[in-house]
C-alpha cells in the first residue's frame, strides 16, 4: 500500500507548494489564463456565495484506502479526526439553517469513532438528503463495519460510493489491489438490504473519477455502461452515476507531474472551460467544514488551505448573514469544476 504524501514528506504535501505550481505552472507552451480572467470574460467575477443549501463535513482524513488520485491525501497514516465537540457545533448549524443536504465525507467517514453517534444525532434534524460518502471497502474491511448497510438503512442515509470502473484492473489500479472485489461484495450487501434497487427509496449512487489524465465522458452514457456491466457480471443495481473530474491537486497533481501529463491536463481543462457550468458550481451553495471545524468554499479549497473569504472562519462562529454573499475563493484548480459538463460532488452540473 502506498503512503500518503504527508507520510512520505513530499513537497506536495504542502498546500502552498501546490498553489505555487498551479499559479506559476511549469508550462513550455505559453501561459495559461488565470481562472479569474476566464470567468471575468462572462462577468462571473467575483463569484458570490448564495444561500447555504449543502453542508459538507469532512470528519477526518483517516482512510483504509490510499487511492492514487485522492485530493484529500487520505490514508491509514492520516490521524486528523473530527472531535465530538466539533460535531456538536456542526449539529447546531444543521438545526438552525435551511440547508437541505448534509454530506459526510473523509477519508473514510466511518472510521471516525464518533461517526455513528453523529449520524444518529444528525438524522433527527430532518435533513432532506443525508449523504455518507462511503468508499465501500470499509464495509467489508472489519467485522465491526459489516452492519453498516443496516445502520445506513435505519437512518435513511443516502450512500454515495466511488467506483472508477466496472473492471477489476482499472479499479484496483486507481484505488489499490483488492478494492474491486471488496467493493463488489459491499455493493451486494447494500443491494441485499434494498439500497440501489430500482423501486427502492434507499439511494445508492456511484461516483466515477477517470483513472488517468483525461476528463470524464458524458455522465448519462457512462451510467448506462456501468449499469449494464455491473448488472450482467454481478447482478448489482445502483441508482445514478456521478461523473467527477479529477482536480489537479494533492496526489492527482503528484501523479500528473510524475507522469509528465500536468501541462497537457491543464490545457485540456482550460480548453474544456464551459461558461455555462460556472453558474452551477457547487461552491456557490455549499460550505465545507474541515475536521477541525474551519470553513471552506469546497473540499478542494479545504485541502489547499484556502479558507472562506469572510469574518467567520470557524463553524463555532457560524453566521448566515456574514457568510452569504461572500466572494468565493478561486485558483487555477477551479478549471476542474468548469470543464465540459462541469463537475461537482453530485456529478456534472449541466
Amino acid at each position: 500500500m502506498i503512503k500518503s504524501l504527508h507520510k512520505r514528506e513530499s513537497a506536495l504535501a504542502n498546500s502552498k507548494r501546490q498553489l505555487e505550481i498551479l499559479s506559476n505552472g511549469i508550462f513550455q507552451k505559453g501561459v495559461l489564463p488565470t481562472f479569474k480572467e476566464k470567468i471575468s470574460e462572462t462577468n462571473e467575477f467575483p463569484l458570490k456565495a448564495k444561500k447555504l443549501e449543502i453542508l459538507q463535513i469532512n470528519v477526518g482524513y483517516m482512510c483504509n484506502q490510499v487511492c492514487s488520485h485522492c485530493h484529500v491525501d487520505a490514508g491509514p497514516d492520516r490521524k486528523e479526526i473530527m472531535t465530538r465537540e466539533t460535531m456538536i457545533q456542526c449539529l447546531n448549524v444543521i438545526k438552525n439553517t435551511g440547508a437541505h443536504t448534509l454530506d459526510l465525507t473523509g477519508g473514510a467517514p466511518e472510521m471516525n469513532p464518533n461517526f455513528r453517534w453523529f449520524v444518529e444525532e444528525a438524522s433527527k434534524a430532518g435533513i432532506k438528503d443525508f449523504i455518507v460518502r462511503s468508499n465501500l471497502t470499509i464495509i467489508t474491511a472489519n467485522k465491526k463495519y459489516n452492519d453498516l448497510p443496516e445502520f445506513f438503512k435505519k437512518h435513511n442515509v443516502h450512500v454515495v460510493s466511488s467506483m472508477p470502473h466496472w473492471t477489476r484492473g482499472k479499479t484496483d489500479k486507481q484505488r489499490g489491489y483488492g478494492v474491486f472485489n471488496a467493493s463488489i461484495e459491499a455493493l451486494k450487501m447494500l443491494n441485499a438490504v434494498g439500497y440501489g434497487m430500482p423501486e427502492n427509496k434507499l439511494r445508492l449512487d456511484l461516483v466515477y473519477n477517470p483513472s488517468g489524465a483525461f476528463l470524464p465522458s458524458n455522465q448519462k452514457s457512462m451510467e448506462k455502461d456501468f449499469k449494464k456491466a455491473l448488472l450482467e457480471a454481478f447482478n448489482i443495481h445502483f441508482h445514478n452515476l456521478f461523473a467527477i473530474t479529477n482536480l489537479p491537486i494533492s496526489r492527482f497533481l503528484d501523479y500528473l507531474i510524475a507522469s509528465e501529463n500536468y501541462e497537457d491536463y491543464m490545457y485540456a481543462l482550460v480548453e474544456a472551460y464551459n461558461p455555462a457550468a460556472v453558474a452551477n458550481v457547487m461552491c456557490t451553495n455549499t460550505l465545507s467544514v474541515s475536521w477541525d471545524g474551519y470553513l471552506y468554499d469546497c473540499d478542494f479549497n479545504q485541502m489547499l488551505q484556502l479558507p472562506v473569504n469572510s469574518k467567520v472562519k470557524h463553524i463555532s462562529d457560524y453566521n448566515e448573514d456574514l457568510l452569504e454573499g461572500r466572494n468565493i475563493v478561486m485558483s487555477q484548480h477551479c478549471y476542474g469544476c468548469t470543464a465540459g459538463a462541469g463537475s461537482s460532488c453530485q456529478g456534472s452540473v449541466i
Partner: protein, 111 residues
Amino acid sequence: MQKTYYDPADLKKFGKISEWNEELGAKFFDYYGKVFEEGALTEREKSLIALAVSHTIQCPYCIDAYTGDGLQRGITKEEMMEALHVAAAIRGGASLVHGVQMMNKVNKLDM
C-alpha cells in the same frame, strides 16, 4: 521550421480547415458530429470503430483522438487492442483474399 510531418498540436487546429472554405468545412463538421451521435450503435461502439479505422488509415491524429476518447468513455485497453486486431485482420485478410486472383491467374496461365 517543424522537422516532422506530424505535429500533435495540429490536431487542435483541425477546425481551422473551415477558414479557407467555410461552407464545405461546416458541412463536413455537421456530418462528422451527426455520425458520432448515438443511433443504432452507441457512441462507445462508434468510438471503437473510429479507433480501429484510425489504425487502418494510419492517421496519428485520429489514433491520439480516439485513444483519448475511448479512455474517457471507459473503454478498456483490452477492448481497444481487440478492436485493433479486427482492423489488422481485415487489413491482412484484404491482402490475402487477393491471393485468389493470383491463384486464378496462375491457374489460367500455368500448364
